[in-house]
Symmetry: C2
Subunit: 432 residues, 2 copies
Amino acid sequence: MIRAAELIQRKRDGAELAPEEIGELILGYARGEVPDYQLAAFCMAVYFRGLSPRETYALTDAMIRSGDTIDLGGALGRKVVDKHSTGGVGDKTSLAVGPIVAACGVPFGKMSGRGLGHTGGTLDKLESIPGFRIELTLDEFVSQVRDVGLAIIGQTAELVPADKALYGLRDVTATVDQLSLIAASIMSKKIAAGAQAIVLDVKVGDGAFMKTLDDARRLAEAMLSLGEQAGRQVVCLLTDMEQPLGAAVGNALEVREARATVRGEGPPDFTQLVHDACLRLLTLSDLGIDEAEARRRVAEAVASGAAEATWCRWLEAQGGTADEDVLERAPVVRTVESPREGVVTRLGAIAVGNAALHLGAGRQTKSDTIDHAVGVVCLRKRGDGVERGETLAEVHARDDASAAEAVDAVLAAYELGDTPPPERRILIEVVS
Amino acid sequence: MIRAAELIQRKRDGAELAPEEIGELILGYARGEVPDYQLAAFCMAVYFRGLSPRETYALTDAMIRSGDTIDLGGALGRKVVDKHSTGGVGDKTSLAVGPIVAACGVPFGKMSGRGLGHTGGTLDKLESIPGFRIELTLDEFVSQVRDVGLAIIGQTAELVPADKALYGLRDVTATVDQLSLIAASIMSKKIAAGAQAIVLDVKVGDGAFMKTLDDARRLAEAMLSLGEQAGRQVVCLLTDMEQPLGAAVGNALEVREARATVRGEGPPDFTQLVHDACLRLLTLSDLGIDEAEARRRVAEAVASGAAEATWCRWLEAQGGTADEDVLERAPVVRTVESPREGVVTRLGAIAVGNAALHLGAGRQTKSDTIDHAVGVVCLRKRGDGVERGETLAEVHARDDASAAEAVDAVLAAYELGDTPPPERRILIEVVS
C-alpha cells in the first residue's frame, strides 16, 4: 500500500519511475495486491504527467509479464504477421486483410478486443456470424493459424491480464485517451500474442482517438519504439478517419462489406486501405518479396477468388458458416435522401458513428448488448456528386422510431456544397 | 458509472462542475454507488485542475449532507466555539485551549481526527490518558459540552461519512495535499459538528502541510469563505511550523506539556499560541468582550487554577483520570548533547517529527499502533544559547537501539551557529 502511494506521488510530481517500480505496480495490480483505486489515481497522474519512453516500455513489458506469451513463430516455424487498428467508424479492415494475406501464404494470427465504441470491435463484428467462436484455446489458436493460415480470436485471460484489468479501469476513470497508455496497451497485446511483424493502422481525424496528425505520429512512433525494443518489425500507416471507412457502419453490415472487399467488390477507400495494409504485411513476411511483387500478389489473391475461399475456410474453421444469407438483416431499412443537388463536402465520422450507436450497433456501457443487424450504409462519401432526392445513405434499424431518428442524424452528418472538397487520400503517411 | 466517468473527464479537462454534479458524485460515493476507483481518479484530476470556490463549497456541502449534523448552539442555547489546526510537529494546542476557554465560560465542542503523521492526532494524544473515551454518542457529546463546558471526541460515523471515506482514499492515492480538498475536509467536519465560531490554526513551514505563507493564506481564505457561506464566524491564525511547537513531541509527553501550559508552566512559544487562540475564541463568543478583556480573562483562568480545574473535570467526565502519574513513561530516556557552544539557528520540525515517528509515536500506515510513551522533548529551541555538552533535547524510547538512532536523528535536526537567527514570531498573521 505504502509503496504504491509513494510511486503514485512521485509520478504525480513529475518524476520518472524506474522500470522495476513500474513493474512492481503493474504486477502487484495483476496479482490483486495493488487495488483498483491506486491504479486509477496512477493513471490519472500519468494522464497529466505522461510517461517517458523508458517508463512506457517498462509498462508494456510488465503487462506482458503479467500473463502467458505465445511464440507463434517458434510453433509454426514461420514468420507470423498481425495487423492492428486504433479504431474508427466503419473499421472492418482486419476482417478483409486476414483472408487476403493468408491466401498469399503468410500466416496471420490476431487477438482482438471488444471495444466500447460506436459499433462493436472486431470481435463483435465476428459474432454477428452465427456460430462463430471467438474464444479458442491458445492451442487451438496456434493450430488454426498453422492449418488455415488465419485466426482472429478474443483476448484470452492468460495473455496480458494486467492490460485487460487496466483497460477496464481506464474506461470508467476517464484515463483512456493518454498516448503512452494507449501505446503500451496495444503493443503489450501484440507482442504477447506472438506475431513477429506487425502493421499498425493509426487513424487520424474526427472519428479517431487521434484528432491531429501530430498526435497520430507521436502514437505511431511510441508503438514503433515499443515493438522494436521487443524485437518485432513494425510499420505504422497513418490513415484518414474524417469520414467513416468504406460504406457500412454496423456489425453484420460490415461483415458483408469485408467479404465483398475480399472478392474485389468493396468500396474504393476501404479497398485501397486493405490492399495497402496487405502489401506491407507481405513485404514484412518471410516471403522475401518487394512492394511491387506484394501488390501483384494481393491483387491476384483477390481476383482469383483465393482470398474469398480462405475467408470461407476461416469462418468454418472457427465454427461459423460461409453462407452470407445467415447474417441477420434489420427489419426496417430507410433511405436518407439528398435535399439538394451538389457534392458531398464532408461526412462526419462521429455523427454517423453516433447514429449507429443509437440504433444499437455499439455499446454505451460495458453491459449493453449489441444489435448485430442494425447500422448505417453511407452510399455517398466525400467528393461524390448527388442529385436532389438521390439516396445518400441507408439506415438499417430495429423499428420505425429508431430509423426515423437515425435518418435525421445521418442527414445532419452530411455537408453538401457546390464544389468538390480537396481530395484527401486514405493513406496519409507511413511511419517505419 | 457512465455519469461518474463523464464528470471525472470534465474535471480532468478543466471544466467547472455544477454543485449538483459534485453532490451526485460525493453522495453517490457515500452510498457506495460510485466506487473508490472513480473517486480516486477524480481526486487526482482535482489535484491537477483544482476546484473553483463554487465547487469547493459544493464538495463541503455534499460531505455535510452525507451524514447527520449537530445544532450545538440550539441544543445549548449558547454560542459554542471550536478550534482546529492543520497539524504540525508537537501540536497539542486543542488540549490546552479547550480547558482555558471553558474555564472562561465559553462552551467548547470539538470533533477531532486521528491523522497519519509524525505523532498521533489529538485523539491519539488523548488516548494516552488511561480510560479516556474518545467515542461518545452525539447525545453524550452535547450533554458534556453543556455540563462540563468542554468535550473533544472522535469523528463519529454519523457525521460527514463521505469525508471519512474520502480522506482514507486520498491518503493512499497521493491526493492529500490539495488545497481545496483540505479546506473542504476540514470545514465539512467543523460545520457539521455545530460550532458557531471557529478559530483555524493554519501552520506554515517545514513541519506543516503548507510550506509557504502564500499557500497558507490561500488555504485560510478558502476555509474562511466556506465557513462564511455556511453562516459560521471564522478567524484564521497563520502560525509558525519551522520548528516543533513547544518542547514535547510524542503523545503522553504532549499531554503533560498541555497540562503544564493550562496551569501556566508551558514553554513560551506554545503558551503564546494557546493564549492567542483562546482570546480569539473569547472575542468570537457570546461573552461580548473585546480583545483586551479576553486576554485578561485568559490570563486569569490560567493563574487562578480555574483552567486546570476544568482540565481535570473534563478528563474525568470523559472517563480518564486527572492524575498525571498514570501517563505512561518510556523506559529509556537519553539526552542529546550539544557538540559545541553556540546558539540554535535552526531546529528542523520534520526531522524531529521523523525521529518521533521512528520511535513509535506516530503511524506509518493506518494499521500501525502508536506507542504513547515515546517521543522527543526539545529543551533548546531556535535562538536559545547552549554550552558544549549541555542538553539540547531528550529522547524517550522503548529500547536502547531505537533511542540511539533517535539521538543521532535529533542531533542532526539542530543547526548551531555563533550568532542568533532572526526572531520569528509564533503568530505570523491573522486572516479574518
